[in-house]
Symmetry: C2
Subunit: 286 residues, 2 copies
């Protein structure tokens, strides 16, 4: 799996560099490129693997993988803003509003979202596939997806009571789950096949991913994760760890990794990389 | 023209209300609906008229008109933020970050951009048309279009010297011109026809529109325009009025209205509504 993850990483970085590099030079473009550098590229890998499972050529999958990572980059830039999570460190570097300004961070995020949708319209993707992808992407991102989850998260900060397990599961299903789900469904969406098995896989992996994040917020090393740790804890935020305990959270992540594995049954041996990913997600240290 | 503008206004408001109404209830959805209410709907009208000139049925044009207005609404919400233009009044009402919060304004803008792209994927538009529209829309909005123009505008505020006429024309070509150009080109884009005449029309109308805005900033009545006037003047910002004088700006707007008229020659009598619009844009008082 690491070979393929590395390959997806390099391909997607080249695609993002080309897309950003085609824009007029200036601070906005610099900030967009900065925000698109690095990252684990798990979402891109999901797109490439799900495409491969459905016989979709790399040339059609790559713009979609780049779109998902550009969208993810926008969401991080906006989430880090002072009015949102107020983070000064991301991937071990100053966040965009710290390095440039809040205005540049807002605009770079906005332009990265446009760029992401534009990538879905790459001629290699095909007309019908582009239409299906754009509709699903808008759903995954907007007022019923990622942005909705982030709004719930912001609201929770000033809520009278900490969130329940049900509420936090719903919130994370939007905030981090929706885009992971889209990435995993990209292959069947392009190929016009049934996306249900990969959607079920992604829902389990997405939640496991978030639980692992909460565990890292408690046990992680800032030098390794490249972002502030202990933040949620200090803020008294409800997390999977605060609700389930550290051992309970680890057990739930393991249970979800097994559920993700089971969801891949229709693909048999061919889904080996996605099986590895589900384990990687809960065992990572960054 | 007023009849058709009124009809487009009602149709587009209904389409936006339906799209926003389909989202999960909450503050985010409320803020999105609030941001989508009102406005002159000139961009929607451009889409509907350009579609009509190319024999595109209303059912295919309407989602595109709604997309353009949702996108315009997002841009206003983000432009009004304290880190950007810091406006507290819009269409005679408190801006989104004043009524709710900066976080909600950032998120509502983000979700409106997603909503806009999603509307372009309406099945009534058609697969190939959706792909052409998404590509052109991303170009009009992102790091080479509207967002780029806004970034130039923000940079100009802290620049050592006021902008030249050439620079301000380039800036406005992005900030307000790019979306107006997209709206006017929507018909040929859907119909896969030559967009050049409507692009030339839109470039002239878009610039005339901005010059009229600058004139209103000097001569306008806050009660009528529904937004703060005299702001640019007070900030010492270069505008078409500061660069050309009031009479010079009026003459340039009139010259551009005539150029817009001339660009419509290939459409003959059928383009009567677009001819009226070009005059309306420079004669408006809001």
């Amino acid at each position: 799996m690491q070979d393929r993850l590395g390959a997806a990483k390099a391909q997607v970085q080249a695609a993002l560099d080309a897309a950003v590099g085609a824009l007029p030079a200036g601070e906005l473009r610099d900030a967009m490129g900065y925000a698109c550098a690095g990252g684990k590229r798990i979402r891109a890998f999901l797109v490439m693997e799900s495409a491969r499972l459905h016989g979709v050529p790399d040339a059609a999958a790559l713009p979609v993988a780049a779109a998902v990572e550009a969208l993810h980059a926008y969401s991080l830039v906006h989430d880090d803003l002072p009015a949102m999570d107020n983070d000064d460190l991301r991937r071990g570097l100053p966040t965009v509003h710290v390095k440039w300004s809040q205005a540049t961070a807002i605009l770079a995020g906005d332009a990265l979202q446009s760029l992401a949708f534009g990538l879905l319209a790459d001629p290699a993707v095909g007309d019908a596939a582009t239409r299906r992808l754009v509709a699903a992407f808008a759903q995954a991102v907007g007022g019923a997806g990622m942005v909705w989850g982030q709004a719930l998260d912001i609201a929770a900060e000033t809520a009278a009571a900490p969130l329940t397990l049900e509420q936090i599961t719903e919130l994370q299903g939007g905030k981090t789950g929706a885009l992971i789900r889209f990435a995993a469904m990209a292959g069947p969406l392009i190929a016009d096949a049934d996306p249900a098995p990969l959607a079920a896989y992604a829902d389990a992996v997405g939640l496991a991913f978030q639980i692992a994040d909460d565990i890292l917020d408690v046990t992680g090393n800032e030098d390794v994760t490249g972002k502030r740790v202990g933040k949620d804890m200090a803020a008294g935020k409800a997390t999977f760890v605060s609700l389930l305990g550290l051992d309970g959270a680890r057990a739930e992540a393991a249970r979800l990794a097994a559920a993700a594995d089971a969801a891949l049954a229709p693909y048999g041996e061919a889904a080996g990389n996605l099986r590895h990913l589900a384990r990687f997600v809960i065992e990572r240290d960054t």
